[in-house]
Symmetry: C5
Subunit: 323 residues, 5 copies
Amino acid sequence: MVLTSFDEAAVRQREIARDELDSLELGPGKTHWLEVRGVHDPQLIAAVGERFGLHPLVLEDILDTGHRPKIEEHDEMLFLLLKRVNFTADTHELSLEQISLVLVGNVLISFKETEEDLFAPLRQRIEHSAGRVRKQGADYLMYCLVDMLVDGYFLTLEAMGEVLDGVEESIESDPRTETIRAIHRLRRQAIGVRRSVWPLREILSALHRREHPLLGEDTQPYLRDLYDHVVQVVDSSETQRDVLAGLMDLYLSSVSNRMNAVMKVLTIIATIFIPLTFIAGIYGMNFKYMPELDLPWGYPVVLGIMGVVTLGMIFFFRRKGWI
Amino acid sequence: MVLTSFDEAAVRQREIARDELDSLELGPGKTHWLEVRGVHDPQLIAAVGERFGLHPLVLEDILDTGHRPKIEEHDEMLFLLLKRVNFTADTHELSLEQISLVLVGNVLISFKETEEDLFAPLRQRIEHSAGRVRKQGADYLMYCLVDMLVDGYFLTLEAMGEVLDGVEESIESDPRTETIRAIHRLRRQAIGVRRSVWPLREILSALHRREHPLLGEDTQPYLRDLYDHVVQVVDSSETQRDVLAGLMDLYLSSVSNRMNAVMKVLTIIATIFIPLTFIAGIYGMNFKYMPELDLPWGYPVVLGIMGVVTLGMIFFFRRKGWI
Amino acid sequence: MVLTSFDEAAVRQREIARDELDSLELGPGKTHWLEVRGVHDPQLIAAVGERFGLHPLVLEDILDTGHRPKIEEHDEMLFLLLKRVNFTADTHELSLEQISLVLVGNVLISFKETEEDLFAPLRQRIEHSAGRVRKQGADYLMYCLVDMLVDGYFLTLEAMGEVLDGVEESIESDPRTETIRAIHRLRRQAIGVRRSVWPLREILSALHRREHPLLGEDTQPYLRDLYDHVVQVVDSSETQRDVLAGLMDLYLSSVSNRMNAVMKVLTIIATIFIPLTFIAGIYGMNFKYMPELDLPWGYPVVLGIMGVVTLGMIFFFRRKGWI
Amino acid sequence: MVLTSFDEAAVRQREIARDELDSLELGPGKTHWLEVRGVHDPQLIAAVGERFGLHPLVLEDILDTGHRPKIEEHDEMLFLLLKRVNFTADTHELSLEQISLVLVGNVLISFKETEEDLFAPLRQRIEHSAGRVRKQGADYLMYCLVDMLVDGYFLTLEAMGEVLDGVEESIESDPRTETIRAIHRLRRQAIGVRRSVWPLREILSALHRREHPLLGEDTQPYLRDLYDHVVQVVDSSETQRDVLAGLMDLYLSSVSNRMNAVMKVLTIIATIFIPLTFIAGIYGMNFKYMPELDLPWGYPVVLGIMGVVTLGMIFFFRRKGWI
Amino acid sequence: MVLTSFDEAAVRQREIARDELDSLELGPGKTHWLEVRGVHDPQLIAAVGERFGLHPLVLEDILDTGHRPKIEEHDEMLFLLLKRVNFTADTHELSLEQISLVLVGNVLISFKETEEDLFAPLRQRIEHSAGRVRKQGADYLMYCLVDMLVDGYFLTLEAMGEVLDGVEESIESDPRTETIRAIHRLRRQAIGVRRSVWPLREILSALHRREHPLLGEDTQPYLRDLYDHVVQVVDSSETQRDVLAGLMDLYLSSVSNRMNAVMKVLTIIATIFIPLTFIAGIYGMNFKYMPELDLPWGYPVVLGIMGVVTLGMIFFFRRKGWI
């Protein structure tokens, strides 16, 4: 656990052990940010919960990392359960991580599913600059954290959009089984993103509409702006779904067009040569009495007939528009 | 019927016969749980209904096991009709069983469609521990029962998800008729789960929102948490539907890709050999006057022509990207 | 027209002619049920309308049998326009018939599109038993009639469900053109049922929610129960639609699988024999100088080559997973 | 322009020129209906607008014939912009025409896009009968006009339904490219009808719900009835869409079934004869040392082998269920 | 930046540099329109923001050109963020450009993403005519600008509709891979238009419904009219989507019909000639003892048999309806 305490004048940051929790002094003049990384240790979470008077059900939600994003508002506490999305461009893999935020008075507690130091940039911003984050309270800090997560959605959708464009190009040039698998994977990922961003939208709608004693008036415009951003994420995500559905159709018709082309070649070759082979077969028969065989101009005439048949076929295909 | 009576101090559990019903003493200081297993005996249900003053329509609903989940609120009574889902991993079969709960004062009556002792774990928890269940009243007991059912939904969706993943893999490796049947069966099962979980959501929404004299304030946060869980079940179930729709597309395109591959081989073989066979057919004709036949280099030249034609074809297919 | 007048003590039932209408005495102590079968005679309907003071637009609705189910509430009158569905199992045909109910005071008038004596069972129940129907007023009678219609929906959906199961089985065993026609017919029928059951749901929702002077308090729970039933009908009907959509997909993929199997056989046969035939064609040519022809082991060697080619092909198909 | 002025006692009908507009006396005791046919002359529309004090934006809407149906309510004026649909059975063409209605006091002004005398039947009804139309005011007259348009929707949907049934039959008997084009055209037309009937529904919902000083209490039940009719039109139109979607599927599967049948014949023929031809090819080779050729029973044995192969193939196809 | 200041009497228009901003006098009697073209220079935007007291979040939205259309209402300020769509008929390309409008008192500030002088026609109208635009205030000017953008949507949809009609025709005459690509592109573009027009609808709904101190009563009917237009744009755009979905189906069935036709020709040719070739192959065998070969009428009889087989095949195909 890392505790960052700051006001406009000073910042103090230190590592906290579990047994220090009870003796922590979190003075009212400052904003305190308690960062808990990793939720594998239920006893640690329980200790934090006890220190700040959190309901057992809230602690359960924090520990259960398969939860749907949600908001819980109590008079003296605000609990946000969010998802961080991350798209790895190399492997085309989407990962979701649960982030829980608890706002109690001037203290913000953040719980991360993994040990990764995701919020380092924000901590550095607090430390090095004396900007708005330092001036405003824990509610603005909470806004900053949620903002980082929403930015993650934008980046994810953008990265997925690029993969999607790549797939679209590859459909036109060379539709293969891998393409359909890529589309399918993108679809599943898009479902995942959508399922986590829709509740996020409700959460931010609730945040910027209802008045909560812990959310200052100065922070309201920022929350509203954040809400706009999330609406846009939802929008992009819906657009992506529509485009994906279109890609599927494009792929299927691309494949069926290819098949059509293959069929045409087969048909043309077979249709031209099967009758010719038949004619050759006729004069390959060993009947004793086949008068044509003894005629000196029999061979060239048959060759001529074959030529005529071929030209007739080609003319027929031209008229059908197959060649 | 099994009657479990308990308060914080003691637990008493006993088998009840139908004729004991009227003489039952259900003192106000305790919580009483009357468990009725099997609803095949209408007279038994009628006797229970008479003892606790249930409306005939409620009894009808309990007996009719094809009912949709619903809630009925009266001033002195709360009636829940729920479905238990169960997915058997081996046979991939989904079963639905109707569970009815009636809360009257400090008495909770549960009706199960089958004789199976589903609630044994809860009964043991009541007996052996002196936890929250023992301290709180019949409303919390009702919560515990509904919670068990909701957990069943989670398990079912998880098990179906595993089957689904298996199907997805088998599509990529080897799409067959069984695959499509499996998808179809999963789809029907997913419809079944969805149809029973949507009303469950409404029921829990009603429970945690409206204030009912029988639902204590302490139980409210638990009901709200339960509602969150059901929302998540609904969510997973919707995701599953989307994924299933995607699987169908994946399957169809996988099949059509295979067909394409088969067509290609056929086309290539036929397109190469049909013209060659025709050439061979020409020189198999028995015309007396075929000057080529008498030439000493006729045979090798024809073989050469055949080779050229073959190479031309192969070159053509390469250019088309078919080989 | 048949008039059934009853109270708890007695029942009287008689045939009424049009000119008796005006002189009818419909005393307040009893419940009167005027049953009009067949709406082909506008003058009869007009006479009934005049006797009971019905608005001309209501009469128009009764006569126009293509109407959508609806409810009209006036202070002193309640008008229900409903559909009876009937599914004939033998011919797989669905029929819809319009039933109009008018409740004025203690009189219920029912109008049936056809002459069929649909309500005979109810009339017998009134006559022979002294049950609830006899004790309660015209509003409960109306409930009984609507209940009969709703039960008809259940039976219809069940019968359609059986047909659907039959179709599903026949898809797996033997998909044919008749199958797709059966699916299409079921679909149209399902649309028909849905289109008539959705407004029914609104009607019953209106009935059990709003308080109307003509609907007694005792009848309310029954109307609510009826509403639950209709919701369930709607639900089943939606499920059926989803299952039908799934069947369509199952059918299409079943057909495409069959086609695939056919293609495979064709490809394998053609791919094996076309090259062999070509080899045979080579040595069927009549060139004078073909050294192989004169070799004593030429024939067995060529046969051997053919065998090798065949084995190669079979190996290739095995590797592709086609055999 | 035609002006029809009437009260219960008398009807007067006359042609009006543009310059007569200003001097028109439209006495309060009568109902006046000013019919403007054709909206090609903006100056005429402007003159009418000036005479009756219409807002420039209303006039713009009347002139712009591509507008969506809408209603505008002002205290002293009611403006309806509607669409008349017309389906020509011979050419299967759907036409939409804009009709604008303005109700100002006791004056109703109707604007038609074309010169066609659509409202002649209504004008004759006013002239010849002394029915309700003559007794009630301009609001009832407006109802009559809208009623005519709604009836047009019914007729259109019926006519389209007949075309649709014809298409459905032709799919089963003989699916061709024209069929798919007919379905596509019906679809576009159904979209057109739906797009104009949905706003109409909103308009009538607004009309019969809100109380407007210009709409008398006597006209209300008629507007409500009209609303019911429009709801039914919407319903039929939705049903038609569902049926059309089903037809598309039916067509596609019908086509794919045909293709399947074609493939089967090809496969059977090819699979039987290709091996036979190969056998014949073998014994057509000209090797010097082919011992079978010299055997007296060689020929019949080979014919026998061919027969056995053929029977084997036929047995194989039977088992596969292809013959 | 161009500043246009005008009242009913006079118009003054001039180029403004960044450092003139602070000293600008924007007297209350006139309407001032500050046009900012290009948003590439954040410092310029910041300067404008400072001069007119805009919130930093508003400036951020103006600079971020990927934003979703939205409206922000403050007591003394109105902020609209809109999209201009433009469809280039030649290249079939759709471009979206962000336009932001800020209304503060009697000043309207417009920000354009690019340098293009889009609003020149409006500026000329202000300069040369003394119409309504000159008489009414900055709110009416804002209406004029939004009106121009909405007209752009109409033009875009019309142009896309023409492309769509072209595609539809080309499907019927000659379905090719380019067609499907064109449909796909139109689809993506239609998604783009829809995604920007739906929020526009909400914006105008908000504008004409809520009363805002900056929007005069005279401007209200124009905003309502604009709202109607946007609803119509939404409507057309939805229709286009439905038509596009139908086109896709039309295309696919067109392609599959073509394939069917190709298959038929192949089947007929192969089915006729494969058996004939086999017969010829039989009599091409070199068995010593083939009695038919020595018969004088062997050859014509075999030719006759071939003719009979051919006629039988043709009869079979006729009966199947393939020829």
